[in-house]
């Protein structure tokens, strides 16, 4: 299989590889996929009180396209409000990286990782501020 220039670029020079401290209250962590499926993505987002994604880190076990998808996503979400980031569709990733049909699941996983990380942030923010969370529920 031949890879697109952009996949190769992200694979060779991955952006924002690494981890934030898991107990940082401003960090949301999303881990999606499973080792037996050959793909696991961990995406961490540092989110401001106002809900703006200030920084992102990833680690991925998976094929080159999975690595590239998660690397691209860290660039894509930075500076975005979480409400906007929640609407990011995998098709954006497919288009940017020129992924072939057999690699579409990599982009889906990256989309899921964004949602999982934001949900995680909301969950522990909610735990911190029960009143606010209750208000949201109503």
């Amino acid at each position: 299989m031949s890879y697109s220039e952009k996949v190769l670029d992200h694979y060779n020079n991955p952006r924002n590889v690494g981890s934030f401290a898991k107990d940082d209250p401003n960090v949301g962590t999303g881990v999606v996929g499973a080792p037996e499926c050959g793909d696991v993505m961990k995406l961490q987002l540092r989110i401001s009180e106002a809900g703006v994604i200030e920084d992102a880190r990833f680690k991925t076990f998976g094929c080159g396209s999975a690595i590239a998808s998660s690397s691209y996503v860290t660039e894509l979400v930075k500076g975005k409000h979480i409400d906007e980031a929640m609407t990011i569709k995998n098709t954006v990733i497919v288009k940017e990286l020129n992924l072939p049909p057999v690699k579409i699941h990599c982009s889906v996983l990256a989309e899921d990782a964004i949602k999982a990380a934001i949900t995680d942030w909301k969950t522990h923010k909610g735990a911190e501020e029960p009143a606010a969370a209750k208000a949201q529920e109503k």
Binding site: M1, Y3, L8, Y11, P14, V17, S19, V31, V32, G33, A34, P35, E36, C37, G38, D39, V40, M41, K42, K59, T60, F61, G62, C63, G64, A66, I67, V102, D112, A116
Partner: protein, 405 residues
């Protein structure tokens, strides 16, 4: 300085040995006759060349030359052996015994017969080294068993099966024993008499001969094995395989066998040395890597390793000037990791992380050192990027994690 790309995928195919090409060349142009033309010198010349090759090929497995049937390759040989035996012996029975790590040419031939209602098949499991247990073969035999088909050595993990024991068992019970010996012939000593093999598939391009030519050994005596043909036509190859002989290919296949037989001891030493060097080099530099296949009963040029926490295809991508292959799902058309590695019971994750190094005649120690460095560096880089490696280092048991797949 190592010339790149480095080829280390000799189980997939091999380049033609220049000596093989030289032997073939006249048969493209001046000696172009049809070996079946009985009434002129062009035909006689071709027939003579085919006879010589038949001898060269027979002698590498200690067979008689008339027991060699030429085919288009080992896939056809496996199809002919399995489908041909089941068809011919259908009055006697319809049960086949094989094993889960066989080549697709064997497994899919068996499945086709099952689908058509022509056979029932027992697929024996293998142990953690990929070896089939002869006692399991014995226990699987029924009074309907007409064929046992077990490969000599596995193409992915290099494990050599206890062929002689299985052959002996087949003899005792009067069951035809077919052996796909594509990876074994020319690499380790194969003797159809001592091993008790009745049918044996082999291929030209795995032993430095050309692609598009193979053979099926069919035992002529003790017992005489009969086959129904799967290709009908002019009755070539004693009626078992019609079609004008690929004289050029056959000449090359013959020359390749002669060279392989003559150089076997030297080549075995060379390949063991390189393989052990690669094995030691990788295991010195990296933690959490695992050998797939049998530690001792394996092909000289084979090394199959799982690099935990690193996905195989991404590793191949990182070592793009080294030609090896992976059991990762992402490198296969089916999106399933290698069924051979999975059969070892080492877990899906390690199956995704497996790489097969296939060393061959033209590899050098410098190439091995280059590949060792290249692979080690890339594995370390990818592990820095791997959430699984991070979790493992934190002491998290990956098996206890609830994954959201």
């Amino acid at each position: 300085m190592v010339k790149t790309p480095v080829y280390m995928d000799y189980h997939a195919t091999t380049p033609c040995d220049p000596r093989v090409v030289e032997a073939m060349l006249p048969y493209f142009t001046t000696k172009f006759g049809n070996a079946a033309s009985r009434n002129h010198s062009f035909g006689w010349e071709a027939e003579e060349a085919v006879d010589k090759a038949r001898n060269q090929i027979a002698s590498i497995i200690n067979a008689k030359s008339k027991e060699i049937i030429f085919t288009s390759g080992a896939t056809e040989s496996d199809n002919l052996a399995i489908k041909g035996v089941v068809e011919f012996y259908k009055e006697k029975g319809n049960h086949i015994i094989t094993c889960v790590t066989e080549h697709k040419a064997v497994l899919d031939s068996c499945r086709a017969l099952e689908r058509q209602g022509k056979a029932t098949v027992t697929y024996l499991p293998v142990d953690k080294y990929g070896m089939v247990d002869p006692d399991a073969v014995r226990r699987a035999i029924t009074d309907k068993t007409v064929l046992i088909t077990i490969m000599y050595a596995n193409n992915e993990i290099g494990t050599i099966h206890p062929i002689r024991e299985i052959g002996k068992l087949a003899k005792e019970k009067g069951i035809v024993f077919h052996c796909d010996a594509v990876q074994a012939v020319g690499k380790i000593p194969v003797d159809v008499d001592k091993d008790g093999i009745d049918l044996l598939a082999m291929s030209g391009h795995k032993i430095y001969g050309p692609k598009g030519v193979g053979a099926l050994y069919v035992r002529s005596k003790g017992p005489r094995v009969r086959l129904a043909p799967i290709i009908d036509g002019g009755g070539h190859e004693r009626g078992m395989r019609s079609g004008t002989l690929n004289v050029t290919g056959i000449v090359g296949f013959g020359a390749a066998c002669e060279i392989a037989a003559r150089e076997l001891p030297e080549e075995t030493r060379h390949l063991n040395e390189l393989r052990n060097r690669l094995h030691a080099g990788l295991f010195e530099r990296l933690d959490e890597i695992y050998l797939n296949g049998h530690p001792t009963e394996r092909l000289p040029g084979n090394l199959n390793v799982s690099f935990a926490y690193v996905e195989g295809e991404s590793l191949l991508m990182g070592i793009n000037d080294v030609a090896v292959s992976s059991g990762s799902a992402c490198t296969s058309a089916t999106l399933e990791p290698s069924y051979v590695i999975r059969a070892l019971g080492i877990g899906e994750e390690l199956a995704h992380s497996s790489i097969r190094f296939g060393l061959g005649r033209f590899n050098t120690a410098d190439e091995v050192d280059y590949v060792t460095e290249r692979v080690s560096r890339e594995v370390k880089r990818l592990r820095e990027m791997s959430p699984l490696y991070e979790m493992a280092k934190e002491g998290i048991d990956l098996k206890s994690v609830q994954w959201k797949a």
